[in-house]
Symmetry: C2
Subunit: 205 residues, 2 copies
């Protein structure tokens, strides 16, 4: 938790520091991110930083919390908008929302990406704290199982993780390279269809 000295700061300065932190953690992984770089971009002295935060971990956890709050709101909207939607369309809607969100706050998405790629002990511990999105999806899967839409013989958690793995893989790949999101939604639709219907030849509908 940041110290009071940070919270007492004028809004503008807090924002400056926060922005500098986001920019750095979007570029580099936790262990590679440099406090020197952050204080430089924020226009504060190194000494000040340690008067605001205990250390790098402190800042990181705080930043993650703030970003998490925003992200959760995006995800929650899904469940609200159409409670009767099946898992597949709900998932796609969520991707859509995430894309819009990523477009307005691209750095937030990159921070999440860096975290995804980070296997350090510290990050490993942190992960899984804010898995509310995961839970929500799992519930959707289970509802669809009861509705007879999804096969009961496949583990719900595995299903959610498959979707998660695919999205992470393709999104990080494309976004990291191009920085753009064109065709992202179409790609997501293709992937959902693959996992939904399978790739083997079936009797036609």
């Amino acid at each position: 938790m940041p110290k009071n000295t940070y919270f007492n700061l004028p809004q503008a300065k807090k924002a400056r520091i926060f922005k500098a932190a986001v920019e750095e953690f979007a570029k580099k992984r936790f262990s590679e991110a440099s406090i020197n770089q952050i204080v430089k971009n924020a226009g504060i002295s190194r000494g000040s930083f340690y008067q605001y935060f205990n250390d790098k971990e402190d800042l990181y956890i705080y930043m993650l919390g703030e970003i998490g709050k925003e992200k959760l709101e995006v995800i929650k909207k899904v469940g609200i908008l159409n409670p009767e939607a099946d898992f597949f369309s709900a998932f796609l809607y969520m991707i859509k929302a995430a894309l819009v969100w990523a477009e307005t706050k691209p750095l937030y998405g990159q921070v999440a990406m860096q975290m995804e790629l980070d296997q350090s002990d510290f990050i490993e511990k942190l992960r899984g704290l804010s898995d509310e999105g995961f839970l929500l999806l799992k519930q959707l899967v289970e509802k669809d199982k009861k509705r007879g839409l999804i096969r009961e013989d496949i583990d719900s958690e595995l299903i959610v993780e498959v979707f998660n793995a695919l999205m992470t893989h393709f999104f990080t790949k494309k976004m990291y390279r191009s920085g753009q999101h064109d065709g992202m939604l179409e790609l997501a639709e293709k992937l959902v269809r693959i996992v939904k219907e399978g790739i083997s030849v079936q009797r036609k509908k």
Copy 2:
């Protein structure tokens, strides 16, 4: 390319250095890996290292090449063993072979993992050099399309990448955490079945 001074070294010493390099690059990513650590474990002086290799990149590329040679042999066996096998069983056989390989040379697998997680410019450039395995799988998919086993309306490359993404995700995750491979094959079978048949409810066979 390593200098002649390296190749002229007695086999035992070369092996010692190579082993130390593998161990380091299995633990850390390229940018985080330390030459100091390598020379310490190899029992050579820092000065000697730079007499053998131009720099860290030199060593890394060399090591990757050596590992790649071994890996390719494992993959190639798949195509040879049963030329009539469909993509799914061929893929599973490949996983099986990879698991056996990873069990005898676990560090090699970890090196590949670290590389997978590395998005630095240097590694990004290096990636894709040895994509022979990828090509082989793509050919198998296309053969199965013609045989009427796989839907023609899905891009072959996408299919291969989906499999690749899933395996990478679940394997790195499990292997990194536990270091063990129990249940790995069963997990692979589950995943293949998901992508093969889909998760939505179909008419029973």
